[in-house]
């Protein structure tokens, strides 16, 4: 191991890790939004909207991100739609994540019994209030494990963005291997940096999950 080499190129990895985190953060935020919209569309059975949401969910869940990115980045410019690689990354991650998040939200929303909504309405709450104050908090707690798993999954999926020539961790590692043939060092740092990103995130998420495991109205029995 050439530690001097590793120290010299650590800043490259730090920048790359920040890029990975930024893409992941924006992608996760957007996919939460997309997922919530799709989940609500399906929950309220909005005509046409629910079919579009269902088709979108199936399409995004049954195709690999890499193939989606190739289509976005190399395919679409031929149809006159030219996107920068970072925009492609955001769209790709959101397209993929939205489908997964929608499923998580939907399962949460559907597990809330109808009587909860009816009770809320009979107490004089508006539909929006019922959703905001009664259904969503409970549904969110039930969806949370799924959402957390999806977040980790999405952070891991950012590793394919090197094909869009974005200088993320994979890209830097591959570059260093190609330039200096320091494969051991480059890969060790790659693993170290991914652990540095993913271990804290997964620890925090499992703590959050444990903290919010309170809503158990009929759906979650403590076996």
């Amino acid at each position: 191991m050439d530690f001097a080499f590793m120290a010299r190129y650590a800043p490259l990895y730090v920048d790359a890790a920040l890029l990975t985190l930024r893409i992941a953060a924006v992608g996760i935020a957007l996919s939460l939004l997309a997922g919530l919209v799709c989940g609500l569309t399906q929950y309220y059975r909005v005509p046409i909207g629910k079919n579009i949401a269902a088709a979108y969910i199936e399409l995004s869940r049954n195709t690999p991100l890499l193939v989606q990115l190739f289509f976005l980045y190399f395919g679409l410019p031929k149809a006159g739609i030219r996107l920068s690689s970072e925009v492609c990354a955001y769209i790709g991650l959101t397209f993929l994540g939205g489908g997964y998040m929608a499923e998580a939200f939907r399962s949460g929303l559907e597990s809330i019994e109808k009587i909860q909504v009816e009770s809320g309405l009979s107490l004089g709450l508006t539909r929006a209030q019922v959703m905001r104050c009664i259904v969503l908090p409970q549904a969110a707690a039930i969806s949370l494990p799924g959402i957390c798993a999806n977040m980790i999954f999405l952070i891991k999926e950012t590793s394919v963005f090197s094909v869009l020539a974005l200088a993320d961790l994979m890209y830097v590692a591959k570059d260093l291997i190609g330039l200096y043939y320091k494969t051991n060092e480059a890969l060790t740092m790659l693993v170290a940096f991914y652990l540095l990103i993913l271990l804290p995130v997964s620890t925090v998420l499992s703590l959050v999950e444990r903290k919010f495991r309170y809503a158990g109205y009929g759906s979650q029995s403590a076996v």
Binding site: N62, V67, F70, G75, M170, A173, I177, T183, L187, V191
Partner: protein, 225 residues
Amino acid sequence: MQDMGVRVLFEGANGVRLLKGLWTALRISLLSMAFSFVLGTLLGCAMTLKNPVVKAAAKIYLEFIRIMPQLVLLFLAYFGMTKAFGIQLSGYASALIVFTMWGTAEMGDLVRGVLISIPKHQYLSGLALGLSPWRVYLHIIFPQSARRLIPLAINLSTRMIKTTSLVVLIGVVEVLKVGQQIIEANRYAAPSGALWVYGAVFLLYFIACYPISSLARLLENKWKG
């Protein structure tokens, strides 16, 4: 210009070549699935043992494999092994090894989850009826576990199929690579080929995965009660 692009898919053997490329990717996922279902079941059973050493070892293996992006694992096997140990694996072999290791971890976790979800009184009642521990597993635990496990395992296989698309990045000639070759070969004859070829690859993956995930959902709903 658009209609010239779509022609690329049907010219010569292009369509067949794409399908063959897809088959390369599918074969990797099918083979590693077969290995990892067997190994994962063993791992999952081992994780329910009380032995702390086995438990700790399995846990560390599981956490490491599952937290690393699969692409990193592929790089470790393909580039890392060669440099560090002088073991030269082809892209195909390293993909098989990595996906088997990853699938084993995922499958092990599913098996463990299913086994501990079977209520304890099922074990105890079996033992109280005078069955040997082995028979309790064979006749009582496994049949119940299988119903919960099969939909999850099928879902895992669609994830593996999707993840095998990554092998193009370690030089395996699969459907994306074949697509690139077709696009390059027709660069001047059909400039808009990329749109159609990548669109076709997108659809091919959907056609491969959608029936499988629908089957998983169907079984899940059927066996829920």
